[in-house]
Structure formats: C-alpha cells, structure tokens
Assembly symmetry: C2
Homo-oligomer: 277 residues x 2
Amino acid sequence: MNREFLIQQIRNKKSFLCVGLDTDINKIPACIRDNSENPIFDFNKAIVDATAPYAIAYKPNLAFYEAEGVKGYEAFEQTVRYIRDNYPDIMIIADAKRGDIGNTSNLYARSFFGHLGVDAVTVAPYMGEDSVRPFLGFDGKWVILLALTSNKGSHDFQMNEEENGRRLFENVILTSQKWASADEMMYVVGATQGSMFKDIRALAPDHFLLVPGVGAQGGSLEEVARYGMTEDCGLIVNSSRGIIYASSGEDFAEAASAEAGKLAAQMAELLDGYNRN
Amino acid sequence: MNREFLIQQIRNKKSFLCVGLDTDINKIPACIRDNSENPIFDFNKAIVDATAPYAIAYKPNLAFYEAEGVKGYEAFEQTVRYIRDNYPDIMIIADAKRGDIGNTSNLYARSFFGHLGVDAVTVAPYMGEDSVRPFLGFDGKWVILLALTSNKGSHDFQMNEEENGRRLFENVILTSQKWASADEMMYVVGATQGSMFKDIRALAPDHFLLVPGVGAQGGSLEEVARYGMTEDCGLIVNSSRGIIYASSGEDFAEAASAEAGKLAAQMAELLDGYNRN
C-alpha cells in the first residue's frame, strides 16, 4: 500500500484509526472461547468485520500469537489472509519489533512481506542500518521504526542525551532518514508524551507516525492531533484493548464497533478541524 | 540452568561453544532437503547429535524458522524438544531479540520459558526496563541482553557517546545491572570488536557474555578469550554457519562434528591457559 493510497483511505473513511489485534486467549469472551475450535481467529474475524468501516489499519502484535505456539501462529496467518481477502484496502501492520543482523533481517522481510503479505512491519533500531535495510525496497511496503515508545522504560535509553545534543530517539529519526524516505518509512511515537510530537515534527515533518498508547496506555487523541497532524494527516493512531475488549459478553463485536466508531468520529472532527485552519 | 550448573558444564566439556542453529532451508544439504518430509528438523537433529560432545549451548535463531511460517515454527519447537529430551545438560538459547511493552513481553516470556522451555532468550534493550523485566525471575532462566552487536550497523547508535561520557552500549550494560544480577542476565557482545571486551569487563566483570560473530562474521576466538575470559570462563562463543554448513554433501554431520571439535579443542587450550596464568 503506497503513501498516496493510504492518504486516500484516510480521506475516504475520515479516520486514521488502527485497531490493534492483541488477541489474548485468556481475554476472549467466553462465548467464543468455549464454543469455537479456533477461538483466536474467530474472535479476530468478528472484530475485523465489526470495525472495518472505521479502521484504516489492523495491527496484530506477534507476541500474542507466538504465546500460543504453532496454533497461535496459524491463527495469525489466517487473520492476515482474512483481512487481505476481504478488506484489501486496509493496511496490515505486523507488530513484530524485529531487528537482527542483515542476513537474518532478510529472512524476516521475506517472511512478512513475501510469505505473509503484510504491508508494514515494526522494526527495532538498536542494531542499526543493516538490520533495517533488508525490510526496505519492497514496492508498497513499509518499515515502521521504533523511535519513542509509550512505556515507562522509554526513559531508560531513548531519552538519553547524546554528544550532538540530541536525545537517542531523535538521533534514530535523523539517522534513519538517510536510509529511506517518507514513502517507505514511518516511526512509532508513543502517545503518552503528546508535546514530544512537536519535537518530532521538527525532525520528520512528512513521515507518518504510528501512535500506540491512545486509550489503555493513556494518551490523548486531541493532543496527538494538535502536535502531530500534517496536511496528509501523517498519523495512524492505534487502539487495542479499548476496542477489542470493550465487552466480554456476547455483544463484544457490537461493543467493539461502537468504540471504534466513537474514535473514528473524533478523528473525523480532528481532520476537519485541521483542514479548516 | 543456573550459573553453577553452566560453569560445571563448561569445565566438564572443556568448551564454551554454542552452536547456532540458523537453519536455512535453502542451505540444507540436498540429501536431506530432497529426501525428508521434515528437512529442517531432520537437519537440526543430525547436527545436534554430531556436535553435542563439544557444545554447551544451542542457539536457534527464530528468524530462520519464522521465515518458513507454521512449518518452520513446528520445526523450531521439535528441535527444542529434541535437545531438551536428549541433551538435558545443554543450554538452549532462543535467539529472538524480543522486546516489547510489559504486558507483551510477559507473553513472550510465557511462550519461551513456559510453553517452549528454553533456558535463555535474547532481548533488545531499546524499550528499557519494563520490556526486559517480564523475562526475569524465572528460576534458572536467563535474559541475554543485546549490548554490542557484531554487525556494521552497531556503529549507528550503540557507539553514540552520551551525556555521561559513556557510549550507549555501556549505558545499556550499566543501567541493566540495576534490574538483574549476573545470575540471570548475560550480554550479547559482538566478537568483531575484540578490544571492546576490555571496556566491557570493566563494567561487567562477572557477567557471562554471549559472543556471536566468531567465524563467518570474522571475530578471533583468541582475542575474545584474552580480553573477555574470567575465572568462571564467563564466555559463551557462538558459531553457526562455520559449523552447520561445513559440508553440503552427505558427510555434513561429520564435517560439522569436526569443525565443532576443532573450536572446542582451541577453547580447551584457552581455558587451560587462563588457569595456568
């Protein structure tokens, strides 16, 4: 999915919502867990069908699937195929946070972009250029590089000031722009640190930012839009638990749809507000 | 596997060799690939049986298995089970380079230490303490944190000097020692930068170091031992391609055994040399 297509999707749906498919077998509503032979996939399928009108991206986090071993991995593949076949206009982001030496990153890239056919992969920057480059150069595919994450531990290293006067996450953003353009790279920027978006936009005015942490992790959508939005929107904001576990009853899909709809309505207003100003 | 047991294994075998099971379906000898229904596992089984007398650890890199999708993941699980059942004294390191927000790292920890039963997992430090801590506190299990990697890209961020006058990889080593002792944490330190071991030993005198990059990636075993060895050995040195692809013919297992034996013989000398001095 290239940049123009993504921007068009955001305009069409008036939404920049990504639904995080962090599907934990222990949190799935009992009505699915007890009656399905393939509960993770069946849950995801219901959530996707319920939220597709509002979502421009889905982001399954690999950890949740790997935790269930081979069966979980199968459910992950099925989920990706289901979205691809039924909602080809919606971006699929494999939240994998991979990053390894070149020949190994090559294999991950082959796996995610080739075998699985997702549109984007989250990648960790610690090992530098040759761990990231194998994910680049696939037509219409994206690297989403961790820059500033939304967790407490983001203060342990990402905020360290370095000899050029910039913090590590800023150097990640600056250095990685030598590797790829805003047409194939995005950054993960945690939403709990809203004012940081201003600093980041000074360094990366055009890049899309994937923003986790709205909702359960505590970020404010309005603040993110105020500081982070560009004329191309430039934002993909993720919500996981707030949507997919909105209800643990039989109405879980309707509840997920309602929550996604609520966020999308706020996003439509924020997009309108940006365009009016 | 606790620290005392690991040290005892190293003394018994006079080896600190880790064999990297970076099994690529495209590099497996044709005699296996063309005749086996389960070539990745069958290859690994033959390599493990051939090298077990010389190895104190096996390190499958998850990327190679994930590249083959569900089938690859199954082969990974089978390999872990095979080693666990047949060579319970040999450490299994899942080279996964994981690292995610707390609740997600929890799932990875449950998957690797619980479901799979490996002894150690490699973890990326970028997201800080709460991404690492979920892997700690499992009896006899280890976190192996990326500090200084052996690839070219290690110079992009890991070597950045920070405001306290130390480089990022040194701050990773220093900060992470507040989270865990040398009884449950090790560091990945790339062997292509032999003299760096001196700097690292000044910061982490007791920690075991997992050293990739001897062999195909160009590090010198002697240099690593000169600067990195401690009275408990303190080193686990990995070789992958140099051993497992030593021959592409029907003699691949014998060739792997010979290569592992050669490295182990050098290691025995280095251990003896250390004890004489």
